[in-house]
């Protein structure tokens, strides 16, 4: 009797008691499905966070901020240091540095016609959209020429555009900031929205750094964006620039590399995700254990119910090993099918979450295969005691059993 025949025999036997087999399977199914779903979401969440951080800092760019800025855009009340022209010149003097840009953050009232709204202002270089992960949905981003020429142009966040222009077309329209009219050249959606807009609000206006300095001469530069040549060791360069800036400021802790800050936040977030995954995974593991106990219980009932069948099989020449295997295979078949269904349903849950939230939930295939094998192993382990009980039955007493 080969393995496949044993499985098909087990299937025949399980089919004669469909509801019971299904209910027994359910415990394993739920356990495995939740493990798969949790792994998928955990993986997806981690990928989303890391992805946001990786693309948040544009390629070959080092972001340097005054130490007192915990994060870009959040000025501290006690802040004494700001970046000035001499700092930018120091950074620009390093070899391997192609360009040094800077960004300013603040808030201002933005008006259009009789409507107005309090918005956050983000002003920077022409690649500000890469630095802050903006996706231009209409019009275009401002150009290097706009920055050099101090042009009065602005890109609005989608929500700000909606507030000021309603359903009308904002492109080409005018908005006033600090009494100066700016021409709207683009609308953008922040791809960090899900992560940061909770704290920052999503009404934002983006403009060239030079224009912003004209409008708000007393705003300080809050971030330096150093564009390095491709292939540069960014970490090393960042360290050298920060050291030079600190010496210039006469304060060993004046500046910090905030791209490093971002990645350490990322590391923390991914650690939290891992811990959460482990905790919920442990709970799912307990569910699986309970499922396994259910399988054992049902197999014991089944062995008792089928005592006479076992006696008959022994009288027909079944060895103890054959009886043992019959029940082991039956138990493993239940849990393996439950595990397989669990993998499928868990993956579907992951897919559903991916479609509903955009978190790139995915199940690595080794995890899926492992879960399946593990559920089969649960079947074998939990079937061992009942199967052994069956194999040890006295044939005559078993035959007599009613």
């Amino acid at each position: 009797m080969n393995a496949w025949e044993m499985v098909s025999m087990a299937l025949i036997s399980l089919r004669t008691n469909k509801l019971r087999s299904f209910l027994t399977m359910l415990g394993i199914l739920i356990g495995v499905a939740s493990i798969i779903a949790i792994v998928a979401i955990g993986n997806g969440g981690k990928a989303a966070v890391l992805g946001a951080i990786a693309s948040g800092s544009a390629q070959n760019t080092i972001q340097i901020v005054p130490r007192e800025l915990v994060a870009p855009g959040l000025p501290q009340p006690g802040q004494v240091l700001a970046i000035d022209e001499s700092d930018l010149a120091i950074a620009a003097s390093f070899s391997g540095v192609q360009q040094v840009n800077y960004t300013l953050y603040g808030t201002a009232v933005v008006g259009s016609g009789n409507r107005s709204d309090n918005a956050s202002i983000e002003a920077g270089p022409a690649n500000l959209n890469e630095l802050t992960r903006l996706q231009i949905t209409r019009g275009h981003m401002f150009s290097q020429a706009d920055v050099i020429g101090h042009r009065d142009v602005a890109v609005l966040s989608q929500s700000l555009a909606n507030k000021l222009f309603g359903s009308g077309n904002p492109i080409g329209g005018l908005v006033t900031v600090s009494g100066v009219p700016l021409q709207v050249i683009g609308v953008a959606v922040s791809q960090q929205a899900s992560l940061f807009s909770l704290f920052m609000g999503s009404d934002a206006l983006y403009m060239p750094a030079t224009t912003c300095q004209d409008l708000f001469p007393n705003w300080s530069i809050s971030e330096m964006d150093v564009q390095a040549a491709p292939g540069t060791n960014l970490q090393n360069l960042a360290q050298r620039i920060v050291t030079a800036l600190n010496i210039h400021a006469g304060d060993a802790t004046a500046f910090a590399d905030s791209s490093g800050l971002a990645s350490s936040v990322g590391a923390l977030l991914s650690k939290v995700t891992t811990i959460l995954t482990l905790v919920i995974g442990a709970i799912a593991g307990i569910a699986l254990l309970v499922g396994g106990v259910g399988v054992m219980n049902i197999m014991l009932v089944s062995v008792t119910e089928r005592t006479q069948e076992i006696g008959i099989r022994i009288s027909l020449g079944a060895t103890r090993t054959a009886i043992l295997f019959q029940f082991l295979v039956e138990s493993a078949t239940i849990t393996a099918i439950g595990g397989l269904a669990g993998v499928v349903i868990g993956s579907l849950i992951g897919l559903g979450i991916r479609m509903a939230t955009g978190i790139p939930a995915s199940v690595p295939w080794p995890i899926a295969v492992l879960s399946f094998l593990f559920s089969a192993v649960i079947g074998v382990v939990c079937g061992l005691y009942p199967a052994n009980k069956a194999a040890r039955l006295n044939p005559i007493e078993a035959l007599r059993y009613e």
Partner: protein, 226 residues
């Protein structure tokens, strides 16, 4: 074929030993048709279980085809039951949830016969006992006589030399019972050794020899033919 020397069997009931067989000496030759009679509780089934290698004697020796069964391993005994012995029971003992043909296939399954060969052999056996048209029926859809025919087909699966039948007609009406006995007689003429336990004198009379057991002793025997 069968040789018992001083076979005793005792069961433990609570703290006491209940002696069921008190030293049975018995020889059954290859190709004999023997019936065993005796009052209820006299130990007939116990004797048959020992002969069928489902149970072992408490004392004494049992030789099957010259081999002392006492020295065999559990696996060897299983092989003996599978290849050399075919059982027929009073209550048929078909597995209720699988079809007639699958029931007949069981001994072939444990003998390691391939799926296709199992099926063709089982159908052939069912045809031989007149049950070809009921191969796909579940036992619950068969009458008592039909069940017993299927059970006999199953007992014949591995072409065993010895058929042991414990009251094979006990659950059947007279006419059906006689049909079953006729079937056993045919198997006997084909050269098989047959041992039938029965309470029915007409069934017993079909055998070459009848052994009477009372209280665990062989009281007497009656030889008709052979």
């Amino acid at each position: 074929m069968i040789e018992l020397n001083g076979v005793r069997k005792a069961y433990k009931v609570g703290d006491e030993l209940l002696m069921v067989l008190h030293g049975i000496d018995l020889r059954i030759e290859e190709g004999e048709f023997v019936s065993i009679m005796g009052p209820s509780g006299s130990g007939k089934s116990t004797l048959m279980h020992i002969i069928g290698c489902l149970d072992t004697p408490s004392a004494g020796e049992y030789r099957l085809r010259g081999t002392s069964v006492g020295g065999l391993s559990a696996r060897d005994l299983a092989v003996l039951r599978n290849r050399t012995i075919g059982f027929v029971f009073q209550n048929f003992h078909l597995l209720p949830r699988i079809t007639a043909v699958r029931n007949v296939e069981l001994p072939l399954l444990y003998a390691g016969v391939s799926r296709a060969q199992r099926r063709s052999r089982a159908l052939e056996l069912l045809a031989r006992v007149g049950m070809a048209d009921r191969a796909q029926h579940l036992p619950t859809a068969l009458s008592g006589g039909q069940k017993q025919r299927v059970a006999i087909a199953r007992a014949l699966a591995n072409d065993p030399a010895l058929i042991l039948a414990d009251e094979p007609t006990g659950a059947l009406d007279q006419r059906t019972g006689l049909e079953i006995i006729e079937l056993l007689r045919e198997l006997h003429s084909a050269g098989r050794t047959i041992v039938v336990i029965t309470h029915d004198p007409t069934v017993a009379a079909a055998a070459d020899r009848t052994i009477y057991i009372v209280d665990g002793h062989i009281q007497r025997e009656e030889v008709r033919r052979g």
